[in-house]
């Protein structure tokens, strides 16, 4: 049996479970803490959005964004090794086509135009949502395949003071430590103050007891991660809020650490500062981000240095009932940022540029219909990005106390400003690149059904087609010089379904996720391009499946996480590939209360079946390993 059939089989069996109603809505229920939906969520009508629930985030809190996203979404990751670089492929697009927003600000590294997901700890944010498909009109550059939305959220509903301290320890001498406090307090009669200070440290020695697995080398690397979060928010009775958010991350990766000649160190440091003033109608943000990457081989004293600073500002104003139109909401805004970048690979000069955006977003809510129509125009120094409109609609086909069925559709244009590396890298870069130009179409059905008192089901199916022209390409035929060469069409379908049973003593749930993606290059630009036309893009698996199931009794919960990935081609003509694989983790957690201190204990077996699977360097990833984590929480109402 081939892996492909296996995926199909698990899909079938999954449907069987759902059809029999034995299981139920997964951990997808979110505590009601969201005060305001983010702009991309509210105005991307007709598009798929997935919110990762807080239970799942808690289970992954000692892991990275890569880990949580690979087990909960169909996003494929290109992983270079344990704790090493991990880049995304969202709906068959490249690593440059996923926007990562932190409190609404794009935090992709401007030099490489992407996020290394291995450097972002799950502990760094309070909420995580995934926006599928292009949303250039709401998000801007990079949101071609989809967007990852990270949010800091004060827990206004939980006044008091809480402190938490956590320790994780695992196989291979890997461990992590986290500690933090958060509070919500009244300031006089009209104001409330919320704050959070959080520190996370990980020290992954990856001391594998083997050098090979299944005849494939297991590369040794160490990762040390430090992170600091400082949030402070003031809110008054009129719902005016002033927030300050700081998120510092420092990721220090060393590959082959014990060989002083060939060891490689990549140190990525990001300093992110954001202040926001928000009311129901107005949002003003001012932020400053500094990204530093130091890379050294052998001698760590003289690394190749890259440093980019960004000053980001944004103002958004919302009008309800614009032009006396009862059912509409109009949001207009502008964004301006200034970049300073100094990269050894660009030569010695400081490069500066300005970027600005203006946008108008319209949302219309009728009895059964929801529409959005959005428009954004970006301006970039020495560039001419296209105007990016989008429209979307949702129609409520069925709506009753127990049943919701919604049909959705959207279409929109997207673009990507070429990365600083693509434009400025000595010799290989191309300052004359054009922005990529995408067009995304998608349609879907989403349903929720409560067949009985304690059982809930939900499901969503989406088909999409995303056509990206002028796809810029480090052309290997020209010594990897960048060109706007290719035309890529990504098509696919996504299905997810979940069932949950919530009883007085027992709860259980199953959630399944399947995506079929076909993404290929369509343009003949040279004699030998014939061999790659229509072939699946490299590192984009055709089939991915995710399964998570749990059974809980009181505070004790057993969870199984599973991911299925079909082969990933590594050559443009698909003659070579990394084999497909299935990974399974098992988690058991419980909570013990000693006086005022609630202690959560979680034991985890990763790669339960000791599967041998390869990363993009064709080295084997680690086998079965274990972690235990202990988190003590103290909460007082004072």
């Amino acid at each position: 049996m081939r892996c492909r059939d296996g995926v199909f089989l698990s899909f079938l069996i999954g449907s069987f479970f759902a059809a029999n109603g034995q299981t139920n809505d997964t951990d997808q229920t979110l505590p009601t803490v969201t005060v305001r939906g983010t702009t991309p969520e509210r105005f991307s009508v007709g598009q798929k959005i997935q919110r990762i629930d807080s239970v799942t985030l808690e289970q992954f809190r000692f892991q990275t964004l890569t880990d949580v996203l690979t087990y909960t979404t169909p996003i494929a990751f290109k992983v270079y090794g344990a704790g090493q670089l991990a880049t995304s492929s969202f709906r068959g697009t490249s690593a440059n086509h996923t926007a990562v927003l932190w409190n609404g600000i794009n935090i992709n590294q401007p030099t490489v135009g992407l996020t290394d997901f291995s450097t972002l700890p799950v502990a760094g944010f309070d909420q995580l949502a995934v926006q599928y498909g292009s949303s250039a009109s709401c998000v801007g550059s990079d949101a071609v395949g989809g967007s990852i939305l990270l949010m800091s959220n004060p827990k206004w509903q939980q006044p008091g003071f809480s402190a938490s301290a956590g320790q994780q320890t695992g196989s291979f001498r890997n461990n992590g430590t986290q500690a933090g406090v958060r509070f919500v307090t009244a300031l006089g009669k009209r104001w409330q103050l919320a704050g959070k200070t959080f520190l996370n440290l990980t020290n992954y020695k990856n001391d594998f007891p083997y050098r090979e697995r299944g005849h494939y080398f297991v590369e040794h690397s160490t990762t040390r991660q430090k992170g600091l979060i400082q949030d402070l928010s003031f809110r008054n009775a009129k719902n005016q809020q002033l927030s300050f958010n700081i998120w510092l991350t420092d990721n220090d990766l060393i590959v082959s650490p014990y060989d002083t000649t060939v060891r490689e160190r990549t140190r990525s440091q990001s300093y992110r500062f954001l202040s926001s003033y928000e009311t129901d109608k107005l949002t003003v943000r001012l932020g400053y981000i500094r990204d530093i990457i130091d890379y050294a081989r052998g001698n760590f004293d003289t690394p190749s240095h890259s440093e980019t600073d960004r000053l980001v500002s944004r103002i958004e104003k919302e009008f309800t009932k614009p032009f006396s139109w009862e059912n509409a909401t109009l949001r207009v805004g502008g964004e301006w940022s200034h970049y300073w970048t100094q990269v050894d690979g660009y030569g010695s000069s400081l490069i500066q540029e300005d970027r600005a955006d203006v946008f108008a977003l319209l949302r219309i809510q009728l009895a059964k219909w929801l529409f959005s129509a959005n428009l954004r125009q970006a301006f970039v120094s020495r560039f001419d990005p296209p105007i990016t409109p989008s429209v979307g609609a949702e129609y409520s086909v069925l709506q009753s106390a127990t049943t919701h069925l919604t049909a959705k559709a959207s279409l929109g244009r997207s673009y990507r400003v070429p990365t600083l590396n693509e434009r400025h890298w000595k010799e290989l870069g191309n300052p004359n690149l054009r922005p990529e130009n995408g067009f995304n179409l998608e349609a879907g059905l989403s349903a929720r059904w409560l067949p009985a008192n304690r059982i809930s089901l939900s499901s969503e199916a989406t088909v999409f087609r995303n056509r990206i022209d002028d796809w810029s390409y480090w052309n290997p035929e020209y010594g990897y010089r960048v060109e706007n060469l290719q035309l890529v069409v990504a098509r696919g379908l996504e299905w997810n379904g979940s069932v949950a049973y919530t009883g007085p003593l027992w709860q259980s749930g199953l959630s399944l996720n399947y995506a079929l993606t076909h993404s290929s290059q369509k343009r003949v630009y040279s004699t030998y391009a014939q061999d790659i036309i229509g072939k699946q893009l490299v590192y984009v698996p055709k089939h991915v499946g995710r399964l998570s199931a749990y059974v809980a009794h009181g505070k004790t919960r057993l969870t199984i996480q599973n991911q299925v990935n079909s082969r990933q081609y590594i050559t443009f003509d698909n003659i070579q590939f990394l084999r497909g694989f299935v990974l399974t983790n098992v988690l058991l957690e419980t909570q013990v209360k000693l006086g005022p201190v609630a202690t959560r204990i979680q034991g985890q077996v990763n790669n339960l079946f000791d599967t041998v699977y390869l990363n993009v360097k064709r080295n084997a990833m680690p086998g079965r390993h274990f972690t235990v984590q202990l988190i003590c929480n103290l909460h007082t109402k004072q």
């Binding site: 060939v262 020209y478 084999r579």
Partner: protein, 372 residues
């Protein structure tokens, strides 16, 4: 109610678990078709692969011209070679594959049964570090040139000084000793009882080794990066060094002639191969075209061992080869074409006259050919 749900959960869990076991098992299997084995005859195409992908492979072209067999090592041994391939040679029924991995300490030489391609042994680090070329010097004895661990190119300390030649004993499949050689030791050529070793590490001497007792002898001062090419019909040794073909008396080690190759300093000559009758040399002359976004371009040229000048005006074959070899019996020229390091290349075959015979798809970057 509660009990019922628990049972359902348990059943579901068991089902899910057994399904997972089945999937984990099924994904390790690949279905294979029966395939021709390289026993006795045919051509092995050594596809270098894309360095960062560690995906070098060997293609087997059967002697009857039927369908090639791709990635033959993986098909037989159910694992890939995990590196870029530098060279291949055979000795006494065994084949040696030189594998260079992106990670230091992961370079290796796979020793296989030359008829079945079954892996017999693997020579690993620290015996093998950056293997470059291999030759059989006598029964069950093979020399492998190795750069040793590489350092930092940007600080000018890339090549360890000296590199070494690993002496492999094929009766035990082990490295029995390392002969210290010049920096960046590269191409090896056996002439009589002596091995000449070239350099890619900016050495100016050609290393000479006594192949009987594995001892270094006095080197020959030639010029930057000398590499031995072949011995011609008159028994003369030819060495390429920095734009010149240098003719040497293999016995006295005296330099007899320096023949300048081409006149355009923007072009570089490489892949010198001698014809079957040992009267001609073929070589690739290439350049990066600034007018076409620095794409590498070039052609194959030919000159006779008696020529007094080598103009590069009339190409012998109008194609750029990433690898070239001459079949020693028929004189057929094999040229490897690499469209890019991310898709399969092709092998073009030409008569000794330069007439195209046919072409066949190979794998990533066909570079070295071994005629069995």
């Amino acid at each position: 109610m509660i009990k019922k749900v628990t049972t359902a959960s348990a059943v579901r869990l068991k089902l899910a678990l057994s399904l997972l076991v089945a999937l984990n098992w099924s994904c390790t299997k690949d279905n294979d078709d029966p395939m021709p084995l390289p026993n006795g005859a045919g051509v092995l195409v050594i596809n270098q692969g894309n360095f960062m992908d560690n995906n070098g492979t060997i293609t087997y072209l059967p002697p009857d011209g039927s369908t090639p067999t791709y990635d033959i090592f993986n098909q037989i041994n159910k694992r890939s070679l995990t590196g870029s391939l530098q060279d291949y040679t055979e000795s006494d029924g065994k084949g040696l594959i030189l594998v260079d991995n992106t990670t230091a300490g992961q370079d290796k030489v796979e020793i296989i049964d030359a008829n079945t391609f079954q892996s017999l042994a693997t020579l690993k680090s620290p015996e093998i570090e950056n293997p470059r070329s291999a030759i059989r010097v006598s029964a069950n004895k093979v020399y492998i040139s190795c750069w040793d661990v590489s350092g930092n190119a940007s600080t000018g300390t890339f090549f360890k000084d000296p590199g070494y030649i690993a002496v492999v004993d094929l009766t035990t499949n082990t490295v029995t000793r390392k002969i210290p050689a010049i920096k960046g030791v590269e191409t090896l050529l056996l002439v009589g009882n002596e091995v000449f070793a070239g350099s890619a590490g900016d050495a100016t001497q050609l290393t000479v080794i006594d192949a009987i007792n594995d001892q270094l002898k006095t080197g020959i001062e030639i010029g930057p990066n000398p590499n031995p090419v072949a011995v011609d019909a008159n028994g003369k040794l030819w060495v390429y060094s920095s734009g010149e073909m240098v003719r040497i008396n293999a016995q006295t080690k005296a330099i007899e002639n320096r023949l300048k190759i081409g006149t355009d300093p923007a072009r570089s000559a490489s892949r010198f191969r001698i014809s079957a009758d040992k009267q001609y040399f073929y070589f690739v002359n290439s350049y990066y075209d600034a007018a076409d976004n620095y794409k590498e371009k070039g052609e194959v040229y030919r000159f006779a061992i008696t020529d007094t000048s080598v103009p590069t005006t009339t190409p012998f074959i109008k194609r750029l080869f990433s690898g070239m070899a001459v079949e020693p019996n028929s004189g057929v020229i094999y040229g490897g074409i690499t469209p890019s390091f991310k898709q399969a290349g092709y092998v073009y075959r030409y008569q000794a006259t330069g007439t195209l015979i046919d072409s066949v798809k190979a794998e990533i970057a066909p570079t070295v050919f071994y005629f069995k």
